[in-house]
Each structure stands twice: as structure tokens, then as C-alpha cells.
Amino acid sequence: MNEPLLSVESLSVTFATRHGSHTAVSDVSFALSAGETLGVVGESGSGKSLTMLSLLQLLPNGARAQATRARLGEYDLLDLPRSDLDRIRGREIAIVFQDPLTALNPVVSIGRQIIEVLRHHFKLDKAQARIRAIELLARVGISDPVLRLRQYPHEFSGGMRQRVTIAMALAGEPRILIADEPTTALDVTVQAQIVSLIAGLLEHTRMGVIWVTHDLALLARIADRVMVMFAGRIMESASCEELFARPQHPYTRALLANLRESAAAPGATADPAPQGCPFSTRCAWVMDTCRARMPPVGRAAHGGQVACWALNP
């Protein structure tokens, strides 16, 4: 495969608190190629969203990202001058968030919000931008786009609003689209519509996509590769087919078992061990080593990678 679009090595995100620093993401490495869809699955607090936000310098106050490498083409994502950052956001990497209602400005018409993005990135006059905005709305399946352009977010349903934020993300013709739980706030039938929409849009582009979700089953349809995160670390990564067919890490196995209703989920919850593997408090295979040291990410039987002492002693 040719040079990846995006490559990240040893990314960590730390929060400075009154009681010292707290590491929310540690040692996360991944790459994304053009036309590839990377699925990132994890529970709340697994660091999946923070990882993505750090790439656009959108971390909340007090959080700091560090990495040995975070490159997008010629840009170093963690050390960008303001002018480059404005170019990266929306033009190179666009992001669709979970809640479309807070992602849109309630007092500005949909049309103005899309046109603003278009005119920021491209040299277009108002009339040209308007035509482009109408095309974008039609592309994301919004009927009657000329009328809809004049309307405000509250006049749209949840599913339609999410279509609008997708149109806005596509407006900058980004090389990478980050979809951060874009269907979580939607009803099941609408979720299926949005997944079909994005899958359809991807067929005609070379856009790289990172799809962040807590629902592993959702990734079966759309992802090429899957990365499983837990407590800020990568537990396992592999091609989509291999991960579902031959899950290696006990956490991935537990997630799949839960989806397939074949067994109860892992044992009692407890706070993650301060050192050692964060999953050790729930793991059925736990050994003394697991509680003492975090396993490194190593090669796995399915050709992907896994961080587990039981699999890579």
C-alpha cells in the first residue's frame, strides 16, 4: 500500500488536574490510507473521541496531546501555526459529531451556515456558493433543497439535521472524514438511513474515514479495519473480517459475546488498575503479570495487533 494519508505514533493525551496529571489516552498508534474506513470502537471514557479531537487541536482546556508522530501529508498536526490549522480544519479533516442540534447554530439559516464553510475554503461568490450548497443538500438526500436552504435547524428533524452536518463536513472536500458517533443520538431506522447515506457517499471518493462508535456491530458493515480501545489504550486492531471472525483480546471477545448473546459479559467492575492492563479487573484470563505491567501492542494470530500478556507472553 502507498504512503498513508494520516499516521499517528504513540499519541497520548493528559489532563492537568489539581491532583497531578491524569493520562486519558496513552500510546495510541494508527494509520489511515486514502479510501479506507477505520472503525474505532470503545466505551465511554475509552479515549476514542479524545484521540480524534487531539488531531484537530480541539481538546478541552487543560488537556495536552503529545506524540512521536502525527502527520497528515506535509503537516505535523500537533505543531501547527494558526494559519495552517484553519486550513486543516474542514479542508483536510472534517468531523461530524454525535449531536447535530448542538453542532448547528440555531439562529442562522442552514444555507448561510453551509455557504460560510464554502466561502471560507474556496474562492466563490455568494451565488456560486449557494448553488454548491444546494448540490450538497441534494447529495445528502434532503428533498427540496432550495426551500430547505432558507430554513433554520429547529425546522429539521434529527435525521435531517445530521444530514445537514454531513453536508457541511463534505463542503470542504476533506481528505479525511471523522464520524464521531454520528448515529448514536438517532433512532434505529434513521441510524440505518445515515449509515447507508455515508456508505453510499464513500463509494465515489478516495476519502479516508475514521468512524468512532461504541457499537461494534455497526462497524461490521462499514469498516475496513477495526481498532478496539479500552481505558485510553488500543487493545486490539485487525482487518474487519478477521476481527469479527477471530477476535483475540478477551475484551473484544466479551464485546462480541454480548452482541451474539452467547455468554454473560465479564465479571465485576472495579476501577482500572493504576498500573498494568486496564482490563485486568474484568478479565477472565487475568494473571499476576497483567496487574503489574501493561502488555505492549504485539502481533496477533489474525495478522493484526493485540495488547495482551496471555496472547503475547
Binding site: D187, V188, A192, L216, A220, L256, R260
Partner: protein, 321 residues
Amino acid sequence: MFDGRQLTVSFERPSLLNRLRGRTPVLGLRAVDVTIHTGETLGLVGESGSGKSTLARALLRINRLSSGSLLLQGQEITTLEGAPLRALRRRLQMIFQDPFGSLNPRMSVGRAIAEPLIVHDLARGREIHARVAASLEMVGLPARFAARMPHEFSGGQRQRICIARALCCRPEFIACDEVLSALDISLQGQMLELLGQLKAQLGLTYLFISHDLRVVKRISDRVAVMYLGRIVELAPTPQLYARPAHPYTAALLAAIPTPDPVAERARRFAALPGELPSPAHPPPGCAFHERCPKASARCRSEQPPLAQIASGHQVACFHPN
């Protein structure tokens, strides 16, 4: 246990002004007939706005019924007020989705669990402590947690505390409203197991509300599907999942992703178009006809009644599968 007939909940009083303006009241529940048997778990699924929570709240007499009749073990409770209504509340409990919002952050866990005992005057003095400890142990938490404050606990533990509070006054019926939705997937299995154990141990009856059909399948004896304030299908769980009769149920089931990339990519499926209509402007006839692949002229003008198509299997559709 429950026998509800033509239960209707309206969210707007039909005042003279509104009638003059030609406004019709917004109905959260439209003439729902529902029976819940003692000892069963009835699953309730549907999209947001379909009336699942409104039905639960109507059964518990939290929402006022605008019409219909409700029997609890043969006793009319539709218009109960005052002391008899408070006595009823002890027997019927509800657990909510958000374990952060449903515990008072300034009240210790023990005090929160004791609250219903004090309100109903079910225990006094030392006995309160004993019952709180017993409730905590029932949900798998140590009795010493009673002295702690809610912020010290994770979402999963808080939800256990909420269950302990519901159990504390020994109810017969618990409505679980999206109780797993705020929990991580790897904790959902444990919580389902706990609810199952408690039900067997205490002889409880559950109404289990969820938008997640995978979860409902695992816990329910029968499942009811709601759409815009009506039950559109009701069947024993295995039958509903294997042979959904209503096109809406079939679409809901088809929309669940399966954890199998090969099957998932080979699957040809057309996502259901549109979204749930506004309850303020319900379409004429069957509320689902605008999104339904099988809609006919009759569906556009006439509301299909909930009718029996097989033993225990009811569906409100003119063209069931």
C-alpha cells in the same frame, strides 16, 4: 396484573381557547389496550416519541389518563386519589434511564434508599438500616456503601443503587425505562442477569422499555412494539423476532446491524424512509402508512385495529406479513 383498556393520554387540555383556534390536543397515547400478566416481563420497544415512557407512566398513574380504564389485579385504579393512590405507589416502582439524574447528589446512598420507607412509613429506627442494607446486598453492593455519596460511584453502580431503592419497599411491579441505555455494553449483560435474578427471587413483574431490540429480546417474555402512541404489534418474544407481522417491526429488526461483516455486506436491505411523524399532526389512517412499503388506499384513510393473527400474536395492520 394490569389490564388497560383504551388508555389515552393527552398533553393539552381541550380548553375553549384552543378549541376556538382549531387546535386538537397532542396525544401521547392513543387508545392503547394492554394486559400485563403477573410474573412476566413485557418488553416495550419503539423509537423516541412513540409513547413507551408515556404508557409506563400511565400504568403507574404518574401521567393523568384522559380516558380509558385501568385495572390492577382486578381493582379499578383509573381514578384513585389521595391515600389509596399513595398506597398504590408503594406497589408500583419505576427505574429511569439516567442514574446520574435520578439520585440526589447531596443525599447519601442510604438516605436515598430509605426515602420510600419513610414516605410510606414502612419502617422506623433500626429497621430502616436493616432494610437498606438488605436492598444493597440484593443488588450486589456491600451494605457499607449506604454511608457514601452518589458521586463516588460509577454509572453501573449508581444504576444498582436505583434498583435497590425501587426494591426497598417490596414492590410487585417495576417499570424499567431504558435502564441499560446509559451503561457501557460490557456492563449490560451483568445488569440483565441481575434483573433476571431479582425477578425470580422476589416474584416481580417487569415492564422493560428499551429502544434496543437486542436487549429486549434477552429479557422479555412478550414484546410490544409502539408507533406514534399506539401498540402496533404484540407477540411472544421468539415469535416476534422470527416472524414479525407488522412492516414496521420487520423494518426495525432489519435495521439492527449484525456482528458479521460477511453477512452484513451481502445483505440487501433498503433503509426505511422518513421519520416518526409529529404527534401534533398525525397522518390520517394508519400512522405508519407514509413510510410503509405495503401501504394501500385503505391504510391512508382507516386506522387498522389491533387484531389477533395467531395465538397471543396481535398486529394492527391491514397487510401483515
